[in-house]
Amino acid sequence: MRSALRAAGYLAIALLLLFILGPMLVIVPVSFGSSGMFQFPPSGFSLERYGQLFADDRIMSSIGLSLGIGAASTVIAVLVGVLAAVGIARGGIPFKGMLESFFLGPLIVPLVTTGIGFLIIFVPMGIVGSPVSIALAHSVVICPYVIRIATASLRQLDPVLEEAAIVHGAKEGYAFRTVVLPQLVPAMISGGLLAFLVSIDEYTVTSFLIQANTITLPVRIYQLVSLDINPVVTALAGLTIMLSFIVIFVLEKKFAIHKYLEM
């Protein structure tokens, strides 16, 4: 009875794992196949789609655009996020609880609301559709990820160290740069990495701001999958998945990144 229950439990977990990994498990074989892009299991083996992928200028320019926007918005988000985190965790700003909710606001406010807001303020400035407008919008959307990780990390640090620096005559800026910032580096790296991933995958806010010459990667993938039905996207999707798995595996082995994700 007990062991039957246990076996049923393991079967349920196995099915759940299949559900979780399913979409990734079907895409990779389809990308190496030569049959329809919605057919599984695929028939035939071919690398043709990967060849087409690297020869596709539109996809390559979308990848470049998304990487550029991701890098720029991550730099802004890490900067603003660290300032916000020290303000929340160590500063004397009134209404701290409200302040924290305000900084995490972009996670709660519907992305369409945020998207319409950016559209409304960017139209009169004449920058809708420019990479700069998309990067600014992304910096706001991804900032909460950095703030959350940096705040949690600051709360675990001992303020006695900075106090010691001040007592020994250091200026505030010097104490911050040499004592606090170095201790925040792991939080900045993991928060920044998460923020970067969210930026290069951001669809909703971006869809309000794009123009024909600034199609970011996720928008390009959507167009190829749902509108053009172009099989070259299978190679792009397969490559994304294989790269993501390798990156996750390496980061977990090297840095045990799961520790930074626990809430």
């Binding site: 759940l16 559900f19 979780i20 990994l21 399913g22 979409p23 990734m24 892009m37 919605f38 057919q39 599984f40 603003v80 996020g81 300032l83 916000a84 303000g87 160590r90 500063g91 004397g92 700003i93 305000f102 709660i108 406010v109 519907p110 992305l111 369409v112 609301t113 998207g115 319409i116 807001g117 950016f118 559209l119 409304i120 303020i121 600014l136 706001v140 900032c143 900075e162 106090e163 001040i166 505030e172 995958d201 669809y203 309000f208 990667l217 996720p218 993938i221 959507y222 999958v225 749902s226 999707a237 994304t240 998945i241 996750i248 977990e252 990144i257 799961h258 994700l261 626990e262 809430m263």
Partner: protein
């Protein structure tokens, strides 16, 4: 150390200024745009939303789909978090990363995967044809496929929250309960589950907010009859070009999400005192 505190406050204010200019200011613009008609204050857009059978139906569907997806995610997420927390401590990290790995992968790509799985040439249709459940299997572009997509999207967040709260449990409490003669089922329902409720509420709140706000999942897995509020707000703003109506729809969505999150918070605090 007041000097350092003042310095940190100044840094904090710089961040506040940035978010005020690029988050709060646009948000206030959406609100004022939704409250204007022909240049003067008016509730016309909201009257349009609340008197339209189409919009009310979409509103109901959005809430229904978000609620169903949240409940399913909590049940599945609890089972998975429990499974991870009962592994050896040294292997919990790798199990956790495997189970939440979809979080790090492009949502657009994952939804393409679901298009393959649920298509008429896909594995689910093949299995159900082999079992002779039905001849014509059409799973895509329905409420079902949208819910599958949403659950897959929010599940990692739920697992993370519940796993974190399970890990914080003091094992000596469980030992005490067992030693005092409680069965393992009774220990679970009387000790473990109540102590993990903060994680359940936090996970449920995130799941509901993400599910109600989702735009891409119905766009790719839904059909014209499964549009949710976000899609309606986008269409009104971009396709029709009516910023006022689009703003009003998105503000209604924002209000509902905030109300549900506040209610969940109240419910959780009630539970603590009971």
């Amino acid at each position: 150390m007041p000097r350092m505190k003042r310095f940190y406050s100044v840094l904090g204010w710089i961040a506040i200024a940035y978010m005020a200019a690029l988050f709060l200011y646009p948000l206030l613009n959406v609100l004022t745009t939704s409250l204007k008609s022909g240049g003067s204050f008016s509730l016309e857009q909201y009257e349009k939303v609340f008197s339209s059978a189409v919009y009310m139906k979409v509103l109901g569907r959005t809430m229904g789909i978000a609620a169903v997806s949240t409940v399913i995610s909590l049940v599945l997420g609890y089972a998975l978090a429990w499974f991870i927390a009962s592994r050896r401590p040294s292997s919990q990290g790798i199990w956790l990363m495997l189970i939440i790995s979809p979080m790090f992968m492009s949502l657009t790509v994952r939804l393409y995967g679901w298009l393959i799985i649920l298509s008429n040439d896909g594995p689910v249709a093949a299995v159900s044809r082999a079992l002779r459940f039905s001849q014509e299997v059409s799973l895509l572009f329905s409420n079902f496929s949208v819910i599958v997509g949403i659950v897959h999207y929010v599940l990692p967040f739920v697992v993370l929250n519940i796993y974190t709260s399970l890990k914080k449990l003091n094992p000596s409490l469980l030992e005490a309960s067992m030693m005092l003669g409680a069965s393992s089922a009774r220990t679970f329902w009387r000790v473990t589950f109540p102590l993990s409720l903060p994680g359940v509420f936090a996970g449920g709140s995130i799941a509901f907010a993400l599910a109600a706000n989702t735009f891409l999942v119905p766009l790719m897995l839904g059909g014209p009859k499964t549009n949710l509020l976000s899609n309606m707000a986008y269409d009104a703003t971009i396709t029709i070009g009516n910023f006022g109506l689009g703003s009003a729809l998105s503000i209604v969505l924002l209000a509902i999400v905030v109300i549900v999150l506040v209610l969940m918070g109240v419910l959780e605090r009630r539970g603590h005192h009971a």
